[in-house]
Every structure is written in C-alpha cells, then in structure tokens.
Point group: C2
Chain length 108, copies 2
C-alpha cells in the first residue's frame, strides 16, 4: 500500500538539491524522532553513497536500482521498498520519458 501522506511531522523548509536538481528532497522528523526525507528523482542515472543503512519506499512513479557489488538492475514501483546497506553506494536510474521516481527515504 502506498504511503500518500505522513502525519505529525516536523519538516525542514529548505530543500536538499543534489545533482543539479535531478534529485530534490525535503527532510523531516517523525513524532517518534525518526529522521526521514521525501524526494523525487527526475530522469537520470545517479550514484548515491550511504552512511547509515537506508530504506527507499516508492510512493509514485518507478525507478531501477543497482546495489554496490551487483550487476543487476531491479525495478522498484509504487508501494515497493528496497534496502541499502550502510557505508555503501547504489545507483538509481529513471528513464527519460517516464514519470519521475517519488520516494520516502528512511534511515534504519
């Protein structure tokens, strides 16, 4: 099921702009103190580095991702999640002409 809204959060008003705007997110803190972000990735192939392990949940559109050390691109669509190990990296690609990838990023 897709998480369309999240209630009772404290949101940072300044956006995080990465890769010349190909990825834009806003950070927020949930009532229980957990830190997350909501964001969007426009058509591009981008490499992200992780500190803490992350869970990426797709809330609209889709992407393909490739974890470090693998050669497999895996599709992630609305309502689906994938996990990324800490101190690692992963690639996300969104194909030109397709809808952007909208996500919630949680740190675990």
């Amino acid at each position: 099921m897709t998480t369309t809204h999240i209630d009772n959060v404290n949101v940072a008003t300044k956006a995080n702009v990465y890769f010349d705007g190909k990825c834009v997110s806003h950070s927020f803190t949930e009532a229980d103190g957990s830190k997350k972000s909501i964001g969007v990735i426009l058509p591009a192939t981008l490499t992200f580095n992780t500190g803490a392990p992350e869970i990426m949940e797709c809330v609209a559109g889709s992407c393909e991702y490739k974890l470090d050390g693998t050669n497999v691109w895996v599709k992630s669509s609305e309502g689906e999640k994938f996990s990324v190990p800490g101190n690692s990296k992963f690639q996300i690609r969104v194909t030109e002409g397709f809808e952007a990838y909208h996500y919630i990023c949680s740190f675990v």
Copy 2:
C-alpha cells in the same frame, strides 16, 4: 526571521514537479488546517498562475519576482515575503550560477 522548520504538519509524500523540474514542491497541511507547500526553484525564469491569493516566503537563497501588470523585478531574499493577488500571475527568475530560491507558499 527565517522559518527553518514547521512542526506538526501532515505532508504529502509525492512531489509536485513543474517546468521539467525547475520547480519542485511538497504540499502539507498545518494543524489548523491551512494548506501550504515547501519548494525550490532552480535557475530559470518561470511564470506561475494563481487561483487563491498566495504569500511566498523565502527560506534560503533568493529570487526576483515580477507581478502581473508591473514592469518591475523585485528581489526577495531569505526571511522576506511577498504577496500575489488571486486569479493573477507572476514571474520568478533565479539567475544561473546563484543559489536556488527555497520557499514556503501559503494560500490566504
């Protein structure tokens, strides 16, 4: 004073992407029911149409704006606000090489 965070909101997880990503925002509802959005405008000159009157508050970076029916570009920087009449339009420009314009948009 700059509004860096807003507490106790219900945020929509899917971004609003306008003008091929030159403007990206996330909508949210405050505890009192007021509807707003936080967003960012990358270097570009964009024209927006209003339904309800809007207040644009700059939370980082800066822009110049021009209201419909005027010939004057006015600068708006961090901590500053400007109002736009309803059923109108306005232009925003962010100069290439400058920081993006980060804003809170309130409907009044």
